[in-house]
Symmetry: C2
Subunit: 384 residues, 2 copies
């Protein structure tokens, strides 16, 4: 048994990655703090029914379950953090006004997600509760774009969608829950054949609209023009399209599009949704959207919108960075050396004491400077 | 079903705690980086046999298990990070010389540990591999004490122990594995009655020594004097006592003692061990020791010593800190306001946009200053 083998799609972070990801985490948390978002840290595990709020079979399959020895009940390892933050907003913080919250924590999936091929993600995200207006969506979208810029991710493409369009079509046509789920799945996978079979018994305008959804993606003004043309002119659909038009006029991003068939996999979204893409990744690198009803399950529905991304996925998109080098100190018993080392560390320098003093291991210390005794004082000199 | 209830001994971190713990985490990681310790981040779950290295029934019981859908094998959620770091040192980094590594991550226990009553700990720790000399122990002990000072923990008591004393007694007396485990358990719980029954068949000098171990604790020089008196004068016992004498003379701490019956619960320690205590906590607040054989299980035994502590436990020992207050900005469409907000955030200020503008929710924004338009420019003024 080679017990140093890790499970499939589970990875260690070695020093280069771990320190860079830590740096990214700090930069991001600082941006969020300065933007008025307060950090929260919900637990890694909860009762399964607290984490699996809707009937998403997808999410259920992705979630690790285990038995609580203390209660005999089923616990789940979180596969997403947003439902936990919604619980905190609804039940613990109980604010009357706007609550801005952010988090950075690990989530686990039973199966690797998409092509990123990992089961342990370092999810970072922000949530805005208590504000239903469009400015809430825009604040979250701008913050997501600012986060990607700050973390060094360039040439981002943003796709906007709106779950309200699909929900309006379903509700006006009186489509039942089972058919809604089937339609949802077909749209999500852009499976036109399945979609055609499912809409057969629906009235013609609904058929046309549902069949058109997978084609309604691309450049914003062009998609909106086609959508106004093809979709029924009901007030909720017109409102959704007007919101998309307003937001697409305000956002500043390298490339912007609309995708009306993007409905997300987690079922809890209720309004405008968005996804950021990058040439280096097949999957979206950041996701978000409005989910006004999630808190209801915890006794208090509040307007809500937010975004999340995986720091480890973003790290893999960045060009490699040269590792910073430290100062090597010899291992000698000299109080003046000790205080020199303490001084250097106090101003942020990395000082590595060379306990072995073995030249064969020198490169492993990763130092480009060393402390040497010169005319009675310890001085830092460059290593030749 | 009240699905906002958390499992027993599982807690959320709300903004005050989460931001303070984040601050402590950063301060600590900076200290470690400057001291030449490289950050690593092993995964939250691994194959059970990689995490449960020895035959510790205690550790096995404390570890959550689950089934890997991909391999059908048993996975475990880590209840400790040290074995993972030992695996990385032995198998991945493969350095010839000294490796200094540190980590900060969550661990989960099936049962609450001690009186801290929690099952999710935020474990931080440091490990020093590849150096067998006493200076390695001292470096780790000094770093642990410096960590506690840095994090604001005062009036620390440190107890030193040495697993080598018990191991030497067992080995010289030819005690078998079953009796060794029973003796270990009796000593660990300081159960003298059980201990007396277990030593009955052993020769007298071993009996005397084993029965004395639970009494060999207290002020360093006094305990050492008694230990030299009572324990057999074998070379390994004399070496252990000499190490304890040297270290106790060098460490600077508010209060220092020796406890020769402290053998730890995790079985992997092999030499000097130590535990830090504080009046605010019944349990140790930091633990560490030498564990030279742990890497053997991963194909490469290396000298090793390290320490760990739980940041959330340390947080509970600190006096409450007043939450920092931000600057409130009105929600108006004005590019000069937007750039003023960006400037303030760029220098580290927290600026909260008041989307609702509802005086009833003002206190929730936690601001002691606000941005107001005064003679055509946006200015920060104190809130009355």
């Amino acid at each position: 048994m080679q017990n140093w083998l890790l499970p499939e799609y589970i990875q260690d972070m070695l020093p280069d990655e771990a320190s860079r990801v830590e740096q990214m985490r700090r930069q991001w948390l600082d941006l969020l703090r300065q933007s008025g978002y307060q950090l929260v840290a919900p637990p890694l595990l909860e009762y399964a029914e607290s984490l699996l709020l809707d009937d998403s079979a997808d999410m259920d399959l992705r979630t690790f379950k285990l038995v609580d020895q203390l209660s005999g009940r089923t616990l789940a390892l979180r596969a997403d953090i947003t439902p936990q933050v919604a619980r905190m907003d609804a039940h613990l913080l109980n604010r009357k006004g706007v609550a801005r919250l952010c988090y950075a924590g690990s989530v686990l999936h039973t199966q690797p997600v998409g092509l990123t091929r990992t089961r342990e993600l370092l999810q970072i995200g922000a949530e805005l509760y208590g504000y239903a207006g469009l400015q809430g969506d825009i604040e979250i979208q701008q913050l997501m774009l600012a986060s990607l810029r700050l973390l060094g991710i360039e040439d981002v493409h943003l796709d906007l969608g709106h779950v309200g369009v699909f929900r309006a079509l379903v509700s006006h046509a009186g489509i039942d829950k089972a058919l809604e789920s089937a339609l949802f799945a077909a749209l999500q996978s852009k499976d036109s054949t399945a979609l055609q079979a499912l809409v057969l018994d629906l009235e013609e305008s609904t058929q046309t609209a549902l069949l058109a959804l997978p084609t309604l993606y691309g450049e914003c003004s062009e998609v909106l023009a086609r959508a106004y043309d093809i979709l029924p002119n009901t007030p909720d659909i017109l409102a959704a399209l007007a919101d998309l038009a307003k937001v697409s006029a305000q956002l500043q991003v390298d490339s912007l599009g609309i995708d009306l068939a993007d409905l997300r996999g987690y079922h809890y979204h209720s309004g405008m949704v968005f996804a950021a893409y990058h040439a280096g990744s097949h999957d979206a690198i950041a996701l978000g959207g409005r989910y006004d009803d999630l808190g209801k399950s915890f006794g208090r529905a509040r307007p809500a919108t937010g975004f999340s991304m995986d720091l480890r996925q973003l790290y893999r998109l960045l060009p490699p960075q040269s590792t910073s080098q430290g100062i090597c100190a010899p291992f000698v018993n000299d109080p003046t050396l000790d205080s020199k080392i303490a001084q250097l560390r106090a101003v942020g320098e990395v000082v590595v004491v060379d306990l072995l003093g073995d030249p064969a291991c020198w490169a492993e210390l990763q130092c480009d400077r060393e402390l040497v005794l010169h005319e009675g004082t310890w001085q830092v000199i460059a290593v030749m």
